[in-house]
């Protein structure tokens, strides 16, 4: 036991020893130490969040063939701090017609719903907030608070743009929660546990190889859950100006914005944890937490980058198309995949790894192929129907001008 292999335990033991030495009861000292640990984690997260603002602006600039912030400090790294000072000294306005209590509570809940997700994120084998045995359910529950904050913001602003944005966003969020839950069930089946640490420990082979389709469904549902483009119905700026957060300014808007960025990183992290082995990378995680944490963060940032890539490449989809995509395509697909995974897992579990892994992979590939083929036939039939109708109309117009 030394600093290199278990720094957190060493620091906690030292602090508890110090506090009990001052005559504090052992239980209180333990609680205080745990509280300080949580405070440290969340403070570090907020600092990361500040740099996410810089990262997001830099990446969107590159996607749009610009340079992005480059004036303040090297590569514009000090730019987000200038942004924070701007947000802090900006006047804090509340519309006269707004429901004041709910209006002020919404941005706080928005940020909180993201921060509490990190309670179950295992940063390293022995560095984690809480190893809840209902981790997968906790993700869904914390997401519900985020949904609540959006409807609170939209409703309390007493603004028509905000209300429409909030209703749309909530319709999308609750719809895409179904494929999300189904995708969360797949690692649960494979690992036999809902706890995040148990899921990572069980991934001797990354679950993306056992369930590539599940990983894809989780990514799509996560992007929808984040409310980012192409699913950014709530803040469709070309039609709703800013959506549910239209009446917010200063730090309250900042909380929504920072919350969204951290949420994206968090879901990139969960994608990495559930399907890409979390902090595991060829046994390096056993050497030291100082290696395991960067591995997890690298995976989270790669996931975040993919989410950004989708955001800045895809255009927004209309709300009816989006809900139809979810309820008529993604939800049935997710449930069929769930059944196939459960069946294949039980049938192949006894077999050796050389049969189990390709078998699981193939079951996903075959299901994906069937779905693609079915959709191709369906869309061709639809197209021919539409073309036939167009042709008939032209003939009719020629005959009777």
């Amino acid at each position: 036991m030394n600093f290199w292999t278990d720094p957190l335990k060493l620091a906690a033991d030292w602090l508890i020893g110090l506090l009990t030495g001052w005559g504090m009861p052992a239980g209180v000292a333990l609680g205080l130490t745990a509280f300080l640990g949580v405070l440290l984690l969340i403070t570090v997260l907020m600092v990361i969040d500040i740099f996410l603002v810089w990262l997001e602006r830099k990446v969107v600039a590159r996607f749009q063939d610009r340079i992005g912030p480059n004036r303040l400090g090297p590569f514009g790294l000090i730019q987000p701090f200038a942004d924070i000072i701007k947000l802090l000294i900006k006047e804090d306005t509340t519309p006269a017609n707004a429901d004041k209590v709910v209006y002020n509570l919404a941005p706080m809940l928005s940020m909180m719903s993201v921060l509490i997700l990190w309670a179950i994120v295992p940063l390293a084998p022995r560095i984690l907030g809480v190893d809840l045995n209902v981790g997968a359910l906790y993700i869904v529950a914390a997401g519900a608070i985020g949904t609540l904050s959006i409807i609170m913001a939209g409703w309390s602003s007493n603004n028509k743009f905000a209300l429409i944005g909030a209703f749309r966003q909530v319709a999308v969020l609750v719809s895409f929660e179904i494929p999300m839950v189904a995708a969360l069930l797949i690692p649960t089946i494979l690992a036999g546990s809902m706890g995040m640490n148990a899921i990572i420990q069980a991934q001797n082979v990354w679950y993306v190889w056992l369930s590539p389709l599940g990983a894809l469904i989780f990514l799509v549902a996560a992007i929808a859950e984040l409310g980012r483009s192409p699913f950014d119905m709530g803040e469709a700026e070309s039609e709703l100006v800013a959506g549910y957060n239209i009446e917010y300014s200063g730090m309250k808007f900042g909380m929504f914005y920072a919350g969204e960025l951290l949420h994206a990183l968090t879901f990139g992290g969960f994608w990495g944890i559930l399907f890409f082995g979390g902090y595991r990378f060829f046994g390096l995680e056993q050497v030291s937490p100082f290696l395991a944490i960067p591995i997890l963060l690298t995976k989270a940032v790669i996931g975040y980058w993919i989410i950004m890539w989708v955001k800045y490449t895809m255009m927004r989809i209309r709300i009816d198309h989006m809900l139809a995509f979810n309820w008529k395509f993604l939800t049935p697909l997710a449930f069929v995949l769930l059944m196939v995974t459960a069946l294949a897992n039980v049938l192949l579990r006894g077999a050796s790894a050389w049969i189990y892994i390709p078998g699981m992979f193939l079951s996903n590939v075959i299901l994906g192929w069937i779905v693609v083929e079915f959709m191709r036939r369906y869309s061709r039939a639809e197209r021919e129907k539409a073309e036939g109708a167009a042709k008939a109309r032209t003939v009719l117009e020629i005959a009777h001008p």
């Binding site: 900006k90 017609n97 907030g129 809900l323």
Partner: protein, 118 residues
């Protein structure tokens, strides 16, 4: 077990303190010069007409209703998924029957035209 949930409570407390602190700091540092025009509801170029707290399109409510049915039932699937390894093929078949009932519900909603954006 209880200490675990105490830690989760710490996360809730700290997760609330940080945004509250930031917003309160901004409220203290920022200027406070409210006036009636500044506090009007935002609208594109014109003054806003009427209240926003009105009766709203029912379609959103129907999607929420469908979601509620599914979400409650998917919660039952979590214990099934956790114990699937020990329970074997019979439990898988039971689960498939259960999911099929869910899918029948979806087909019913679909056939009723509730998934169309009318």
């Amino acid at each position: 077990m209880n200490s675990q949930w105490l830690l989760v409570a710490f996360f809730f407390i700290v997760g609330l303190i940080i945004p509250v602190g930031a917003i309160v700091a901004a409220a203290i540092l920022g200027p406070k010069k409210p006036n009636p025009i500044k506090q009007t509801t935002y609208e594109c170029g014109i003054e806003t007409v009427g209240d926003s707290w009105v009766q709203f399109k029912v379609q959103y409510y129907i999607f929420a209703l469908v979601f509620l049915v599914f979400d409650v039932e998917t919660v039952f699937l979590f214990p099934w998924a956790v114990k699937l390894g020990q329970l074997g093929l019979f439990a898988v078949m039971e689960g498939i029957v259960f999911i099929s009932i869910l899918v029948v519900g979806l087909v019913y909603t679909w056939r009723k035209g509730m998934l169309e954006w009318a």
